[in-house]
């Protein structure tokens, strides 16, 4: 179809991909997930619930689930020894032409081998031994905060 610059319609979408390359997107996702784990570890270590802080790293159903889980732990006065870590982040998908919703999906290897929960009396909450697990992490992009928020975390049930 011949083009006619004088009659071309104005763009109807305001979506602008926030990252120029897959590498840039993955780096941003790694940084966002590191911050997510920092906040989760803070909640686990301290046995507290800070919905405002959780909302800086998660959104939607993921945020709702985090609030419910950490509220239960805080009510039970349990806290963690050690920290959850991750490595081996891989890009699953970066949608440049969609929307800011579910913009990025990555795979990460979560390491729970050095962390466990304890009751107020210091006994372990569960005798289960945790190791590594593959997880799929989905991010939304917050236009106002210019940052990624975890909108879904899907553990695969596999070691990595």
């Amino acid at each position: 179809m011949p083009s006619d610059a004088s009659t071309a319609p104005a763009p109807t979408s305001t979506f602008v991909a926030p990252y120029a390359t897959d590498e840039e997107a993955l780096a941003a996702a790694e940084e966002a997930y590191a911050e997510y784990l920092r906040v989760i570890n803070f909640h686990l270590n301290e046995g507290v619930i800070d919905e405002g802080l959780l909302a800086t790293v998660a959104i939607g159903d993921e945020l709702t689930g985090l609030i419910e889980s950490h509220s239960r732990l805080a009510e039970a006065d349990t806290r963690s020894i050690g920290e959850v870590r991750f490595n081996d982040a891989q890009l699953q998908r970066y949608s440049r032409d969609g929307s800011l919703h579910e913009l990025l999906v990555i795979y990460v290897c979560e390491d729970l081998s050095d962390v466990y929960l304890v009751n107020p009396d210091g006994t372990r909450v569960t005798d289960e031994v945790f190791s590594t697990e593959l997880a799929q992490i989905t991010f939304d992009y917050s236009d106002s905060a210019h940052a990624l928020r975890v909108s879904d975390r899907e553990p695969w049930g596999e070691k990595c």
Binding site: L44, G65, L66, S69, H70, R72, T78, L112, F130, G157
Partner: protein
């Protein structure tokens, strides 16, 4: 405008509309906090097997008749007669004692651990298996499988008293029909629910290497808990495995070609 379309070497396109599927529900808390507190089931998937305390295996289409006597973990419960005329008589029969006034079900705790055999009359819901694409697969690409089941409560009678049993799925055992098996703690779900594109790998996806017809079987292992008279949930020793109705599907090769138009709308278009 040229349109890229995947054509199958076998007549499988009619199945393409089945890419959607039932929504997956899950009750375990699998956030990191939930995982660490033991609220997210784990399965040993390291070598494709899972350690199960299996004492019963039911096929989903079976009649569920488990009225005969059985032995469970050293405690034998042998009905004296075949007919249970009343709650009181049933209780006496099971105890093999002279009938005495009704004992509240809460005394179940004094009879020793309740095993999966004791709750055999409580039938969990039959799980179902789903797949994407629906009933076909492309050789060399991931086919996504998922189970539809969740924790649920069944009412019934335990040792002559009303009771509830809660069944929680803890392991999903897949036989993909090509010699491959997998055991996962993840039920899987649709590609759409995973927020990924079709033919991407999932925790329960599988790649078929050869064309042909396959039968895929899912067996779901449940842990059970019981409670009587509003008491808290108590563990039931052992697990129960239920086999879902099998899936049958055809694997074929795929070829990518450029066509002039949408071949479904215009099957006679160039390249279709």
């Amino acid at each position: 405008m040229l349109t890229k379309l995947i054509l199958l070497s076998t007549a499988l396109l009619l199945g393409a509309s089945g890419l959607g599927g039932p929504l997956q529900t899950s009750s375990p808390d699998c956030t990191l906090a939930g995982k660490l507190s033991g609220s997210c089931p784990q399965a040993d998937v390291g070598n494709g097997t899972v350690q199960l305390e299996a004492t019963q295996e039911h096929v989903g289409s079976g009649d569920g008749n488990f009225d005969s006597g059985y032995e469970a973990d050293g405690v034998a419960y042998i009905p004296v007669d075949d007919e249970l005329d009343s709650v009181e008589e049933a209780w006496c029969d099971i105890q093999r004692i002279e009938c005495v006034p009704w004992t509240p079900p809460a005394d179940v705790a004094t009879t020793g651990p309740v095993t999966i055999s004791d709750v055999a009359s409580f039938r969990p819901q039959t799980p179902t298996a789903g797949m994407q694409p629906n009933q076909w697969m492309i050789v060399g690409l991931d086919t996504n499988f998922y189970a539809t089941t969740s924790a649920h409560v069944v009412d019934g009678t335990l040792f002559g008293g009303t009771a509830q049993v809660r069944f929680t799925p803890i392991a999903y055992n897949w036989d993909y029909g090509d010699g491959s098996t997998a055991t996962t703690s993840n039920p899987g779900k649709t590609w759409d629910k995973y927020r990924i594109t079709e033919f991407d790998p999932t925790p329960t996806s599988h790649v078929y290497e050869e064309p042909g017809n396959y039968t895929i079987t899912l067996a779901v292992t449940y842990a059970a808990e019981y409670r009587v008279a509003g008491s808290s949930w108590q563990n039931v020793v052992g697990t129960l495995t239920i086999i879902a109705p099998p899936l049958t599907a055809t694997a074929g090769h795929a070829t990518t070609v450029l066509v002039d138009q949408d071949c479904i709308a215009n099957p006679t278009g160039i390249g279709c």
